[in-house]
Point group: C2
Chain length 393, copies 2
């Protein structure tokens, strides 16, 4: 069977703020092949990602993603890998291509799983889907009091782990940050794991991290995530090498990886202890699977990066579904109404409080276009007066 | 003075083929501030790069490039660095952003140089612009005979160095490649340096390179460029470590770097001997300057990557203009009529056969929009029926 069509759906909240809440818009991808459909989601700028799908070619290594996808055979997992390899090569110079293709690749696996009536993790060769401990992923409050209230709320929802990130953290003094960290710890109580996400705020400044390390140890943070630019391996390695692995946080990073090589480098050169992969950016589910396998061999813990819908969450859980040791799962708890509308299915915690990749075929969730309708946008692109793109075409 | 406007000009040849000839289209950038203008060129997919400039924001770290540029102060070099830092942070999750911003950053330097009546290399702190040995950069022929003819033609033009790349190279057997390599060497004669560009054709396959190494030594290749995917540091290091540095080629790579970190990693982890940077991709002139400084400290040779106009060539020569040791300059010799039309000024070889960054203010070249007119395209983007982009606006 051939890939007949790839459709994009761009949705956004009526107002998009400068808060770093990735659920304020969404780019969904629907792939059709014969009577089957599959869904995926790019964790990426929607308009830019659509442009990378349909742009006129610039030359042989700067072709649109569509050139490697439309009309291709889709009967078995190897077909997906062949398409992925062609995207990498033919769209080498379209920087956005991997963000665009990530959502398509997810949809290809979803479609193939549904066609074969098996979950995606089974297509990857795993024999079961292990439960993960979800950590509630939320933003720091604007004030320590707000951070405290959010921590209390998370605890009241029964989460045993929570990650606070972005917001004012890192933009003030070490004392300002300490106030937020203690507020989070006090709100969570001592029996809840606390992760901290600095959102690359210190770029390459190792001393800025050192100035906050003692407090991170005091609040018993499990990890410090992305203190630096994603590519600043030297800075990551400097902190990893100079801090006590038996006490206080280890480093986590990887969400900005847009190919598996970048994630491997964070492990091999940056010496991070947790590698966090967004399947909506890294090129899709199989590149994320490759990272998970590498992490497993290296004794590093794989964690999903997910801040959008439960479609994205299901895709994020597939790459390491069968690797028991990797216990954590990022679990967004403050999704926008739009992100909640993407799919009526939700990956709820089971009776043990764990979250797993679904047992249902494909990604195991459905997309509700009717519920999404209020958020959808029409995009039209013309070149020299000729329409070259109409959304949902 | 504030940045008043950023305009994009998308030009392409009437027919764009799948040959890897990057001069088949172009994205020029014009920045206006008061009465001054500056020009730059993105080495990137035009439509995708424009989308990254004007896309609606997705969240605080996924903002359009325009959000960090328009209205900003532009009085001194530090202003450019501040804008660059904001693009990196606020457009962190817009993967295409660095390709878009590269052309803008060039234009900012061009404008500032013209405003101060000094060349860009002077703004970077260099006290002179050293001459470089240009190597003619062309594609392999479809057959060894064609490759031979191209080599003869290059030699007849008086070049003392030539780089052959892409085309059929690497897609056949080692013997097929050997035929092209001997054809190139025979056509050039023994007194002309020969570089070879494999265009990432072997992805991560170290054995594929080993199978061709003896012939590369036999034809006395100066370097082998991009045998692997840009991020495959392990593969680069494996070849670097296992081949004789005193005999035969060394490795070259770097053109796909879209930030200075990636180029540093190729040096520090991939152990390449030549680092090749495209100022139209790496984030502009100053990120390229940072790479040149790092290369100089590490004993690695910096080389520009340029396959487009002489505007791009001037921008490419600025970052290492004052670093005498770095002798080579990539010099495109088979530009499309469009790429030739970009600028009436050409950076010709001087009486010693060398090419230098111009002594004139800014980038030292002018852009001829009238000559470009036959190649220009109008782009219109509407969202929900509202025009959000009209080219040249």
């Amino acid at each position: 069977m051939r890939i007949d069509a790839v459709d994009f759906f761009y949705a956004s909240m009526p107002t998009v703020t400068t808060a770093v809440d990735g659920s304020q818009d969404a780019l969904l991808v629907r792939v059709r092949s014969g009577d089957d459909i599959g869904w995926g989601e790019c964790e990426a700028s929607p308009l830019v990602s659509i442009a990378a799908f349909m742009t006129p070619p610039s030359h042989g290594a700067c072709q649109p993603v569509s050139a490697s996808v439309l009309g291709r055979r889709l009967d078995k997992p190897e077909d997906i890998l062949a398409i992925s390899a062609d995207v990498t090569y033919r769209s080498m110079d379209v920087l956005q291509a991997s963000h665009t293709y990530s959502g398509i690749e997810m949809a290809l696996w979803d479609l193939l799983g549904k066609r074969r009536d098996v979950p995606v993790w089974s297509l990857l060769g795993y024999d079961r889907s292990h439960g993960r401990i979800p950590y509630a992923s939320i933003l720091f409050g604007d004030t320590p009091d707000e951070t405290y209230d959010r921590a209390r709320e998370i605890r009241s929802q029964g989460f045993v782990a929570a990650k606070f990130g972005w917001g004012p953290f890192g933009h003030g003094t070490p004392n300002d940050d300490a106030a937020h960290l203690f507020a989070a710890r006090n709100g969570l109580g001592n029996d809840t794991a606390l992760m901290v996400d600095a959102g690359q705020v210190w770029r390459t400044d190792v001393d800025a991290v050192r100035a906050r390390w003692d407090v991170l140890v005091d609040v018993d943070a499990t990890w410090l995530e992305e203190p630096f630019t994603g590519s600043a391996f030297d800075a990551y390695a400097a902190i990893s090498a100079s801090t006590d692995p038996s006490r206080g946080p280890r480093l986590a990073a990887g969400e900005s990886s847009h190919n598996p090589h970048m994630a491997r480098h964070l492990i091999d050169y940056g010496k991070v202890a947790y590698i966090q992969i967004d399947t909506g950016r890294v090129g899709g589910i199989h590149p994320a699977y490759e990272v998970a396998q590498h992490a497993d061999h290296r004794g590093v813990t794989y964690v999903n990066h997910t801040f959008t819908s439960h479609l994205a969450l299901s895709a994020a859980l597939q790459p390491y579904a069968g690797l028991r040791r990797h216990r954590w799962c990022e679990y967004p708890v403050a999704l926008s109404p739009l992100a909640q509308a993407v799919t009526p299915d939700r990956l709820e915690r089971d009776e043990d409080g764990l979250v797993s990749a679904p047992e249902k075929p494909g990604l195991g969730v459905t997309v509700d276009l009717d519920a999404l309708a209020p958020y959808l946008h029409d995009i039209q692109i013309t070149i020299d007066g000729h329409p070259v793109w109409t959304s949902g075409q």
